[in-house]
């Protein structure tokens, strides 16, 4: 059961990273909109470390405005970026 719904605003959690991550640094603390619900899969924190039948959870594609990702974004104000997160990396939007 997906915690977040299509169209919901979510913020990427800014947790520490070491050695390996699938949650890009440039998305941490940023807020966007859920635009797709993706199939459940084993989280990268388990797969990457040899637990192939590890914890599964829903994944989400989140769309960000580029001007919300980069303080000095020089492209068009309507430009966007989409990328995918497992549920544990998201929280309800703070803003």
């Amino acid at each position: 059961m997906s915690k977040y719904k299509l169209g919901e605003r979510v913020t990427v959690r800014d947790l520490p990273s070491l050695f390996h991550t699938r949650t890009q640094g440039f998305t941490r603390g940023r807020t966007g909109v859920v635009v797709a619900l993706r199939p459940e899969w084993v989280i990268p924190e388990d797969e990457a470390w040899g637990r192939y039948e590890g914890r599964k959870e829903p994944f989400y594609i989140v769309r960000f405005l580029q001007r919300d990702l980069w303080p000095d974004y020089g492209g068009a104000p309507i430009d966007t970026l989409e990328t995918e997160f497992s549920e544990r990396w998201l929280e309800p939007a703070r803003s």
Binding site: T21, R22, T23, Q24, G25, F26, A36, R38, P39, W41, P44, F59, I61, R63, Q66, L69, W70, Y73, G74, G75, A76, I78, D79, T80, L81, E82, T83, E84, F85, S86
Partner: protein
């Protein structure tokens, strides 16, 4: 994210192709493959089948998807709704060669449609995830750090370096494929292609147009000179 060096002037990075490539990697690969086969970690037949798959993939598959979508709007609808299923209609099987897909390419394939108001571009900033079953192997620049660093933050500049200028009233949407989903761009059909056969349409759909760094052009085809290509 950290910035380990500043750039006050443009870098001039020569392509780093050594004249005499090290044999180290050839030797090491042979060594681990032979050991793996000796220890039955996989079979010689497994490897042969994967090599066959590797040689079989290429961007003409994606080009055929695009051409079909251009001429058949029902197919386009199916392609956008379920990429893997629609691929089967053109004999492209995301389950090859293992029967459950390739370990690196998975079986989640989303086609991103360009419109007059939206231009899509694909990257994998964290590694080089790429829809190999429909585009073949990725070009070197897609795999190397420069593109991965820059296209997410300066997409218009990077596209301009490919000669692709997108007007500011057209949204550029960058898809950073950081998990199991694989993407391909469905470019807009250019003007001047009315009445073209699917085969001819496919010939102007290059790999770069399906990554999103280029736009299909009617002045150039893979099979005819620019003079012939004009209607």
């Amino acid at each position: 994210m950290s910035e380990t060096h500043t750039h006050d002037h443009p870098h001039h990075h020569e392509p780093i192709e050594e004249k005499q490539e090290a044999l180290e990697f050839t030797i090491l690969e042979t060594a681990i493959r032979e050991l793996s086969i000796e220890k039955k970690l996989f079979s010689a037949e497994d490897h042969r089948r994967f090599m066959e798959w590797y040689d079989d993939i290429g961007p003409t598959k994606g080009a055929r998807l695009v051409a079909r979508a251009w001429v058949d709007s029902d197919f386009k609808r199916r392609l956008l709704a379920d990429g893997v299923e629609a691929c089967k209609e053109l004999g492209i099987d995301w389950m090859r060669p293992t029967g459950f897909g390739t370990p690196s390419d998975y079986t989640f394939f989303i086609v991103c449609e360009n419109t007059p108001k939206l231009h899509n571009v694909i990257v994998c900033t964290l590694c080089s995830c790429y829809p190999r079953p429909v585009l073949g192997t990725s070009p070197a620049w897609y795999e190397r750090p420069n593109y991965r660093r820059r296209v997410v933050r300066w997409p218009r500049q990077v596209l301009a370096e490919f000669g692709t200028i997108i007007p500011p009233d057209v949204e550029i949407r960058v898809h950073d494929s950081n998990q199991k989903t694989r993407y391909m761009v469905l470019p807009m059909r250019p003007e001047g292609t009315e009445g073209w056969t699917e085969e001819r349409l496919a010939s102007i759909v290059t790999r770069d147009t399906m990554i999103g760094v280029a736009l299909p052009s009617v002045d150039w085809t893979t099979t005819s000179s620019p003079a012939e290509g004009k209607n």
